[in-house]
């Protein structure tokens, strides 16, 4: 190291490691690293295998989401919101339209809210399957990774049946939904849920007494509740520390207050708790899916207001009112009254919030999304300091950073 001065920062060197003989090593992990699924860079300072300093660099996937949203109409923002999160796109979709509906002071029909809850919960299961499957595979439990990916495939098929796309769903509309559920959706979903249930039981048996897995997860990257709140953590990361806060319970939106489900919390705030909380949440989401099918009302899925919801194609082609409404909505956009709103819902990773500002025109003046994993990633450096470099991979997996959402 000493004869290669360009590799050592002159301010920090020479720094002697704890054994008294070697120097602190600087290692750049990423931005394209096989163990970090997502483009992100960790600038590590290592004492042997122990991390003594970690600086997280994000922004590699920045696409200017917020700037682009200001360019088009409110409806044109909806496809951008799917692309934020590839693991649970439909949740971001619905939270955005819910926020815009609050600015417009409209309430979607009951059936629409039930379908939103149903699809959100299916998507949450898919999100957690992605996170936990990848996380377990990185710990060496590749079987669990494959099992969970298989179950996630079933969820994607359901999404395709309901929305027409596996990932780029764009299913929410301000004031309703793009379309109703297909006829045999309940049957398909119940079959998929039964299979997913089996998968979860299998995975639990594979992991619950797996010495390697538990040793790699338990007691690693511990956070206290106070620290987690100060860092702005939400969702499973906050609940793993024992704070029972779930926006579906605490600030009920859509029709979540009509469902009976538990909010699982952890006790220690380590990686194992983050894993367990997500695992249990999937079972709770299945309960919500089951109840949603049982209590789903009949009726329209969109409100009846031609200044907000696009008319049926038949009306556009056959009468002048339909054609005018279509034209005005497409060219001018939905006229959202002047104002601002912050609306947050429970995404896969935590609080997904939209802060919207409208100037009364058909285009949003400002769209700000609060990405839960942005705050999660800001916590990684303090979570991993003092642990081995291999623990960084496990910790990063349990933060479940989604590049599209973190970097926007």
């Amino acid at each position: 190291m000493a004869d290669a001065p360009h590799t050592v920062d002159p301010k920090s060197s020479p720094e002697i490691a704890s054994d008294g003989f070697s120097e602190i090593m600087e290692l750049q992990m990423g931005p394209s690293h096989p163990a970090t699924h997502g483009t992100i860079k960790f600038n590590l300072r290592l004492d042997g295998e122990t991390i003594v300093g970690c600086e997280t660099e994000i922004g590699y996937l920045h696409r200017g989401f917020e700037k682009m949203c200001e360019q088009g109409t409110w409806t044109q923002c909806i496809p951008y919101t799917d692309r934020l999160n590839y693991a649970s796109p439909i949740i971001n979709n619905f939270i955005f339209v819910e926020a815009a509906e609050r600015l417009l002071a409209i309430t979607p029909p009951e059936r629409c809210s039930y379908i939103r809850v149903l699809l959100s919960e299916l998507s949450r299961i898919g999100d957690h399957l992605t996170c936990l499957g990848m996380g377990a595979a990185e710990m060496g439990a590749v079987t669990v990774g494959f099992f969970m990916n298989e179950a996630r495939e079933l969820i994607y098929n359901l999404m395709q049946a309901a929305t027409g796309a596996r990932l780029t769903v764009s299913h929410g509309r301000i004031g309703g939904l793009a379309r109703d559920l297909p006829e045999d959706f309940e049957q398909q979903a119940r079959a998929a849920m039964a299979k997913t249930q089996e998968t979860l039981d299998d995975c639990e048996r594979l992991l619950e007494r797996n010495r390697i897995f538990i040793d790699r997860m338990a007691g690693i990257a511990v956070l206290t509740p106070e620290r987690a709140i100060s860092l702005g953590l939400t969702g499973p990361m906050l609940r793993s520390t024992g704070v029972k806060r779930d926006l579906r319970k605490d600030e009920p939106y859509m029709v979540y207050d009509r469902f009976d489900f538990e909010v699982p919390v952890g006790t220690k705030g380590d990686n194992f708790d983050r894993f367990s909380v997500r695992f249990e949440e999937m079972r709770q989401s299945m309960r919500i899916v089951d109840q949603a099918f049982k209590s789903m009302p009949e009726g329209p899925v969109s409100i009846d207001d031609p200044t907000i919801v696009l008319p049926q194609k038949k009306d556009v082609y056959e009468n002048i009112e339909g054609l005018m409404a279509h034209f005005k909505l497409v060219i001018e956009g939905i006229r959202v009254p002047v104002g601002e709103v912050y609306f947050a819902g429970e995404g896969g990773n935590g609080e997904v919030g939209f802060y919207l500002v409208s100037d009364g025109s058909g285009r949003p003046f400002r769209v700000r999304v609060r990405p839960p994993c942005f705050y999660g990633m800001s916590a990684v450096s303090e979570m991993v300091t003092g642990h081995a470099i291999a623990d960084l991979v496990a910790t990063f997996g349990m933060v479940n950073m989604i590049g599209g959402e973190c970097d926007r």
Binding site: K67, V243, S378
Partner: protein
């Protein structure tokens, strides 16, 4: 007592004005007093806004002649939210970099959020432990979420190649 009156009583320099939006109460305060206001809202035992949900900014120079820095606060014990906005007056064509005191001493969450506001809006936070760009790269010039930053402007780090005018040569050299 209204929240604006409580703030005015605790921090007279804040001159708070209160309004309602669909998601609750919004309080606009003077930028110089924002640090004291936030500290009061966090530490007051009755209000106890113990978490910073989000921190962002809005460029309203065209219509209102100011930047707003928006703090979305949350109280876990009361399950209540509050939007606090610091109004920084600035003329539409003025591209100066205004500054605010940092909130990193109150909430760790403000660290990256303030870096993002600096990156995107060019608003400095005095006392921040390491205010640098977070989403854009170091070499980037300007602040893209300001309304006067052109949406189509490109600042590539390596020279861009037009694949139509200048295609890669094919394997057989044609």
């Amino acid at each position: 007592m209204e929240i604006a009156e409580q703030i005015a009583a605790a921090v007279p320099a804040a001159v708070p004005t209160q309004s309602e939006c669909p998601s609750g109460t919004v309080v606009v305060v003077a930028p110089d007093a924002i640090a004291d206001v936030l500290r009061f809202l966090r530490d007051d035992p009755e209000l106890s806004y113990n978490a910073l949900s989000d921190l962002t900014a809005v460029d309203q120079r065209e219509r209102e002649g100011c930047f707003y820095v928006v703090y979305i606060l949350l109280s876990h014990s009361r399950n209540a939210r509050l939007i606090v906005k610091a109004r920084i007056a600035q003329a539409p064509n003025d591209d100066a970099t205004p500054s605010l005191p940092t909130a990193t001493g109150l909430w760790q969450a403000a660290n990256w959020a303030e870096r993002e506001v600096w990156d995107m809006f060019g608003i400095k936070f005095d006392g921040h432990p390491g205010l640098s760009r977070i989403l854009m790269y170091e070499e980037f010039v300007g602040h893209p979420l300001r309304k006067d930053y052109p949406v189509g402007k490109r600042q590539p780090l390596v020279e861009e190649r037009d694949p139509i005018a200048d295609p890669w040569p094919s394997r057989d050299g044609r």
